[in-house]
Symmetry: C2
Subunit: 83 residues, 2 copies
């Protein structure tokens, strides 16, 4: 037996990481997902909570592609079709 | 009477612009909105067509803020609360 250091995001305490950088990436992804879900819920009031959450998580997981799409290249999103 | 040049996006033929650059911006916004609606519909199958469209248009109208949010600054979306 030995003591181990593990890391987690306070936004998702169940998920533990051995690697701090990975925990940090997960936390940043969840932060973005939350903000996206909030603004989408306000912009499209008919969305239920689950839909807003799913949309936020999905976009946050693919943040690099969406960053490209919003900057100047909507076609960047085609990569999602191939996954 | 005189002949005038007006411009429109083939994605939205009803909306006419006197300024070509403005028509071009409108077309680009709609292109991004369409792509966003498509990927969201696939990612969140419970969305109906109107919801996906509204979400796509909303994000495309605010593309600069979303570009910042996806790049590295989720707080950029706070500006939407002030509008």
């Amino acid at each position: 037996m030995a003591v181990e250091t593990v890391y987690r995001s306070s936004r998702d305490p169940e998920r533990l990481f051995m690697d701090k950088a990975e925990a940090d990436r997960h936390d940043k992804m969840l932060e973005l997902a939350e903000r996206l879900s909030e603004v989408l819920s306000r912009a499209v009031p008919s969305l239920n909570e689950t839909q807003a959450e799913e949309a936020g998580i999905f976009m946050a997981r693919h943040r690099d592609l969406f960053a490209k799409a919003f900057r100047n290249n909507p076609d960047a999103l085609s990569e999602l079709d191939e996954q």
